[in-house]
């Protein structure tokens, strides 16, 4: 019989909360985490709003000396990992260290450190660059630092699949456990790209909302007046375990992760193809991987970025996969509240899918005042709704034409 894989721990920092409980309460209340950019002076940027962490104290998770040598994305990852491992009650020691691994993805890695040290390079010369630059910049150092802190000596990796990175990471970790290469994994995604360079870069692509005077209304997935995504920071990390392993140690199980699909558009570096057939194939692949009947799915946490193309095409892709059943689905975009955490999105959104299964509440898509033409699913506009859900999907799609989808289901013995 195939090995089942379950979620036993979760941790997050994101624009609406610094823990899973805080985040879940905010999302179910429809609270926006978007505000004016404070991490740098955005005076010259077209976009002056973002989803930043609020009241996050890095010293709760990282010593002062260590803080200076690592980028924010690593700090956030260490915070998420600590919450997740505590939540799971997982003890990593000589007996299991080689069977515990880490896959944490990031879209851009330490972009703030690159910016800062590049300024040093330009102004003071190459001899003045911090020796901690490279290990603060490399995207895989989130996973690396987690493995070092907990002594997790099993498989380690870092998918750098743009906005799908968190989902790719969880998918990879799921398969490593399912196929017997590990018993437990830290898995998720993280990002800290609210920086002058990253915002300017996305602005140059005309990808970001410029609704600067109404930050809380700026992220409007599926709405007629959406004008791009709002960049956010943070992410989420989960502890995945083989069910046998979780049972043996008497762990509490949140839900089962049972499917993963990944496809390429092979179309364009940033734009999805009409109808987003790559996304449709990714959802189909994820469902097929666990033999799940599409009609068993009750909720989809949409990629739902609020870019003009994504929301219409994602809707078309969902309809292609689910047919008539798409009318019965609840499809919400929590990016309407958190903004888009790029590689971190898949980490938090997997946690959202799990919480929906556990609590029977679907968080809303806020700011959806008037659905756009072609956006005619139940996006759970404005208010959360109670709904028993047996199985849920988490969709994430990234630049480079990567589509990654996870399937979760309610845990039953």
């Amino acid at each position: 019989m195939e090995r089942r894989v379950v979620i036993t721990g979760m941790g997050t920092v994101n624009p609406v909360g610094n823990s899973v409980d805080e985040t879940w309460a905010a999302l179910c209340a429809g609270r926006s985490g978007i505000g004016p950019i404070t991490k740098f002076d955005p005076a010259r940027h077209a976009t002056k709003i973002a989803g930043e962490l609020k009241g996050f104290d890095p010293l709760r998770y990282v010593e002062k000396k260590e803080l200076r040598r690592i980028d924010d994305f690593i700090v956030y990852a260490l915070a998420c990992a600590e919450m997740a491992v505590q939540d799971a009650g997982l003890v990593i020691d000589g007996g299991n260290a080689e069977r515990v691994g880490t896959v944490v993805g990031s879209g851009i890695g330490g972009v703030r450190t690159i910016e800062r040290e590049h300024t040093v390079l330009e102004q003071s010369g190459p001899r003045k660059i911090s020796p901690f630059t490279i290990p603060a910049v490399l995207p895989n150092l989130a996973a690396g630092q987690i493995s070092i802190r907990y002594g997790a000596k099993g498989p380690i990796s870092c998918p750098v699949t743009a906005c799908a990175a968190g989902t790719s990471a969880i998918g990879m970790a799921f398969r490593l456990i399912k196929d017997g290469y590990a018993d437990a994994m830290f898995a998720g995604g993280i990002e800290a790209a609210v920086t002058p360079f990253a915002v300017a870069g996305f602005n140059a692509m005309r990808a970001l909302s410029t609704r600067n005077d109404e930050p809380e209304k700026a992220s409007r997935p599926f709405d007629r007046r959406r004008d791009g995504f709002v960049i956010g920071e943070g992410g989420g990390i989960l502890v995945l375990e083989g069910l046998d392993h979780a049972r043996r140690r008497g762990a509490r199980v949140y839900a089962e992760i049972c499917g993963y699909g990944c496809t390429a558009d092979a179309y364009h570096m940033a734009a999805p193809p009409p109808g987003h057939e790559g996304a449709a194939r990714s959802m189909e692949a994820a469902l097929r991987s666990c033999g799940m009947d599409p009609a068993a799915v009750g909720y989809i946490n949409a990629h739902g970025t609020a870019t003009p193309l994504n929301d219409v095409y994602e809707t078309q892709a969902i309809k292609r996969v689910f047919g008539e059943h798409s009318r019965k689905l609840a499809v919400s975009s929590t990016k309407s509240m958190t903004g888009h955490m790029l590689g971190g999105a898949g980490g938090l959104e997997a946690i959202v899918a799990v919480k929906v299964l556990c609590d029977g509440i679907v968080p809303p898509t806020i700011n959806l005042d008037e659905p756009d033409e072609g956006c005619d699913l139940d996006y759970v506009a404005h208010r959360a709704k109670a709904m028993a859900v047996e199985a849920a999907l988490s969709n994430t799609f990234g630049f480079g034409g990567v589509n990654a989808v996870l399937v979760f289901r309610k845990y039953r013995d």
Partner: protein
């Protein structure tokens, strides 16, 4: 501020150690918990503060606080 005091101030800041730990014979790596990258950063801070340049070759010989103080004094003396 004497060179000794300034060196200790830099070490306390860079390595996040207490003033009491900074005895002259304290080794950066064995006693003050520095790794090779900390050491590079520490030397960069000293270069900055004392307006000197320390080559990688010379860096190898600086193991304790006293080594650093002696080196800087010598360098300053030669420079002055």
């Amino acid at each position: 501020m004497s060179i000794e005091e300034k060196v200790i101030e830099i070490i306390v800041e860079q390595l996040d150690v207490t003033r009491e730990e900074c005895v002259p014979e304290a080794s950066f790596i064995e006693d003050l918990g520095a790794d090779s990258l900390d050491l590079v950063e520490l030397i960069m801070a000293m270069e900055e503060n004392f307006g000197i340049e320390i080559s990688d070759e010379e860096l190898q010989k600086i193991r304790t606080i006293q080594d650093a103080v002696n080196y800087i004094k010598k360098k300053k003396g030669l420079a002055g």
